[in-house]
C-alpha cells in the first residue's frame, strides 16, 4: 500500500516547510482571536456606518461583530486560503514532478517499489500533511478561544459578573444563573457597572434585559416602536434638536445616544422639541445603551460546531486545491510546467474570489473560482454548505485518482 522508506524520505524533505506554514497560521489565528474585542469592533462599525466603505464591505462588515464572523472574514477567507495553498503548491511539485525532473525518482523506481506505491505514498503525505495543518490550527484556535474569551466550556463570564461575584462572595456560575443577586445588592451593582464601564442605571436596565433574554422573554422593541410611530417621530425630532446643540450630525447621535444624557442642555432641547418628559427620554436612552451591552455579550458567543465547520471547509478546499497541484505534478516531467498549472490555477481561483468580493460588477467571477465553494458566510450565519463540501471532496478525490493513474502510465525520462 504505502512505502515506509519513501514516506520517511518525503517527511525529511518536507517537514520544515510544513512547520513554518503551520506555525505562521497558528500564530495569526491566535492573534486574530486574542485581539477580538466586540466593543472595539462595534465602535468601529458605528464609525463606518453610512460611509462608502461600509457600503462596499456590505454584509461582511455586519458579520464581523461576532468572533466567528470576524474569524471567517479575516482568517478563513484570506490567510487560511492563501498560506496552505503556497505550502501545497511547493510540496506537490516536490513530491513528484521535481523528482522526475531532477532524476532522483530513478532511485526509488530502481528498487522493487511499484509506481503505484510511490504515487500513493506521496499523495497520502500531501493529504495527510494538509489535514494535520488544519488539525493543529483548529486545536490552537480552540485553545486560544478558551484562554482569551473563556467561551468554550465553563461560561464566558462577563467582567461585571466576575467583579460582582467577588463582592457577593458567590460562585460565578451561580451568579450567572441568577443575576437578580446583583440587583439586590447595591455594592455589587456599583462594582458590576464599574466593571462594564457604564452607569448604574444603564447597568440595572442591562441586567433586567439579560434576565429576560435568558428566559426568552425579551420584549420586541422594534415591534412596539412600530406600533407607536408617533412616538418614534417625536424621538427623532428630539435627537435632531439635541444634535444641533451638540454640534454633531443627527445620524451619529442616533447610534450613540449616551451623549444626550451627558449634556443637560442637549437633553433639555430634546425634551422640549419632542414634547416627551426628560425622565422618559433618559429611560429610553438607558434601554438603548443596555441593549447595546447585550449585543456585545452576544459577540463573544462562540459556536464550536461552526468553528469546526469553518476548519473542515478550509481543509476540504485545500484538499481540492492540493489535488489540482498534485495532478499537474503527476502529468508533467518538468518542474516548470508542473508549477505553471499547479500553481497558476489555484492562484487564479484565489484572485477570482477576491475580485468577486470587491464589487457587484465583478461578482460573476465567483463562478470561476473553486474557493466560492467554501462559503464562510453560510457557515457562520447558518446557511447551507453541505453540498459545497461534498463537491469539494469529490473534486479532490477525482483529481487525485486521475493524477495517480497518469503517473503510472506515462514515460519517465529517468
Amino acid at each position: 500500500m504505502f512505502s515506509k522508506p519513501i514516506l520517511k524520505q518525503t517527511f525529511k524533505s518536507s517537514y520544515k516547510l510544513w512547520v513554518i506554514f503551520t506555525a505562521i497560521l497558528c500564530v495569526i489565528s491566535a492573534v486574530v482571536i486574542s485581539v477580538f474585542d466586540p466593543k472595539m469592533i462595534s465602535g468601529m462599525m458605528k464609525m463606518l456606518e453610512g460611509t462608502p466603505m461600509a457600503e462596499m464591505a456590505g454584509d461582511r462588515l455586519s458579520s464581523m461583530t461576532s468572533l466567528l464572523g470576524m474569524l471567517s472574514q479575516q482568517f478563513y477567507g484570506m490567510l487560511a486560503a492563501i498560506l496552505p495553498m503556497i505550502y501545497i503548491i511547493i510540496t506537490a511539485n516536490n513530491l513528484i514532478a521535481s523528482q522526475v525532473d531532477r532524476g532522483s525518482m530513478a532511485y526509488l523506481l530502481s528498487t522493487p517499489t511499484k509506481r503505484s506505491t510511490v504515487v500513493r505514498t506521496q499523495a497520502s503525505f500531501l493529504i495527510g500533511s494538509v489535514f494535520a495543518m488544519f488539525l493543529v490550527v483548529t486545536i490552537v484556535g480552540l485553545g486560544t478561544v478558551q484562554l482569551m474569551h473563556h467561551a468554550l466550556w465553563g461560561e464566558g463570564y462577563t467582567p461585571d459578573v466576575v467583579a460582582a461575584a467577588k463582592v457577593l462572595d458567590v460562585d460565578k456560575a451561580d451568579l450567572t444563573d441568577d443575576l437578580s443577586l446583583i440587583l439586590d445588592n447595591e455594592e455589587a451593582l456599583a462594582t458590576g457597572a464599574d466593571a462594564r464601564e457604564i452607569e448604574t442605571d444603564v447597568y440595572t436596565m442591562y441586567l433586567t434585559l439579560k434576565m429576560a433574554d435568558d428566559t426568552g422573554e425579551l420584549p420586541q422593541f422594534s415591534e412596539q416602536a412600530g406600533q407607536v410611530g408617533d412616538m418614534q417621530n417625536q424621538i427623532i425630532s428630539g435627537i435632531t434638536a439635541a444634535a444641533d446643540v451638540l454640534g454633531v450630525a443627527p445620524a451619529d447621535l442616533m447610534s450613540d445616544m449616551g451623549k444626550i444624557k451627558a449634556n443637560s442642555a442637549a437633553l433639555a432641547a430634546a425634551a422640549e422639541t419632542s414634547g416627551l418628559p426628560e425622565p422618559l427620554l433618559v429611560m429610553m436612552i438607558n434601554s438603548q445603551l443596555a441593549s447595546d451591552e447585550l449585543a456585545l455579550d452576544a459577540g463573544i458567543e462562540f459556536s464550536v460546531k461552526d468553528y469546526l465547520m469553518l476548519n473542515l471547509g478550509a481543509f476540504l478546499l485545500m484538499f481540492a486545491i492540493s489535488a489540482i497541484s498534485f495532478l499537474f505534478s503527476c502529468i508533467f516531467n518538468l518542474s516548470k510546467n508542473s508549477l505553471a498549472l499547479g500553481a497558476g490555477i489555484p492562484i487564479a481561483f484565489f484572485v477570482f474570489q477576491i475580485m468577486a468580493q470587491i464589487g457587484d460588477s465583478l461578482s460573476g467571477f465567483k463562478y470561476l473560482s473553486l474557493n466560492t465553494l467554501f462559503d464562510t458566510n453560510a457557515i457562520v450565519n447558518g446557511g447551507s454548505y453541505a453540498v459545497q463540501f461534498v463537491v469539494l471532496a469529490v473534486i479532490g478525490v477525482v483529481l487525485y485518482v486521475v493524477g495517480m493513474n497518469r503517473f503510472q502510465q506515462k514515460d519517465l525520462p529517468l
Binding site: 522508506p5 524533505s13 530513478a106 532511485y107 526509488l108 523506481l109 528498487t111 522493487p112 517499489t113
Partner: protein, 308 residues
Amino acid sequence: MSVLQVDHLTKDYGSGRGVFDVTFNVEKGEVFGFLGPNGAGKTTTIRHIMGFSRPQEGVTYVEGMNSWLEPAKIQRNLGYLPGEIALPEALTGTQFIKMMADLRGLKDMTRTNALIDRFELEPAGGLKRMSLGMKRKLAIVTAFMHDPQVLVLDEPTSGLDPLMQDMFIEFIKEEKARGKTILLSSHIFSEVDATCDRISIIKEGHLMSTFVANELRHSTSKTFKLEFNSKEEFERFRAEAEATKRLKILSVKRHRNQAKVQVEDADVNDFIAVISGYSLKFFSEIKFTLEDYFMKFYDRGGAAYAVN
C-alpha cells in the same frame, strides 16, 4: 533464454531522434558493451529496459519479464546506475544508503559496508554538498548493494578519477567472474576493451553492428604499412597484390607511395618473400586497438553507415 532481451525496440521522439528497431540480447554471465556518440539512443534504450518508458513498438525483457508490464519485479534482481547522478538532496549519504536498503528490504549490510570500504566512500555528509565523484560512488554502492544478478550501468565511471576508474574495471571483472550479466554503456574505450565480451554500436538510434570483442582482438590477420622508395615500385606492388589476391590492400596514399596491407597470419612468409623484391623505405605493423576500430563510428559524417 537471454537475460536481457531488446526486441525490435522503437521509440520515435520526432525529428530523427529516438531509437529505431533496436534488437540485441545479453546472455547470462556476459558483459555487453553499448557504445555510440552523444544522443545516439543508449540512455533511451536503457530506460526501456528499466521499465521507465513504454515502447512504441517492440518489447524488452529482463530475465524473461516484460520491462513495461512488471517493472517492480525485474528490479529485485537488477542493479541500475543512472547516467546522470541526481540524488535526493535532503538526505545525507548514510540516510540514502539506509533508504535504498529499506526499499529493497535488505537487512544484511555486510556487502554494502564492504563496498563502501572498497570504493573509499565517505557517506556521512549531506548529498547536496557531495562532490560529483563521491555521488557516483554512492550510486555505485547502492546499485550493487543487494548483489543483483543483472546490472545496467549507464556511463558508470564518468566523474571518477583515473585510479577509481581502474578500480571499477577490476570490480566489474570480478563481478563477471561471479557470473553476473552486465550491460555497460560507455564512451571510454579502455574500459569497454578491458571488460566487454560483446559490443554493440548504436548511432542515430540505429544499431550499427555487434562484435565479439575477442574476435577483433585476436584477429588472425595483421595490418602493415609500407612506404616505397619510388612511384614505379609502388605501382608495381599494387599490380602484383591485385594479381596474387593474397595481399589485401586496405588503403593507399598515392602522393607518399604508401599502402596499408592486411595479411593473414598463415601468409606472412609469402608476404615477406613478396616485399623483399621491392625497394622499401620502411614497413611497420599497425597495432590493433578497439579504439581505432570504433572511432569511425563516432565520425559525424554518413560514412559509418557503409561499414556494416
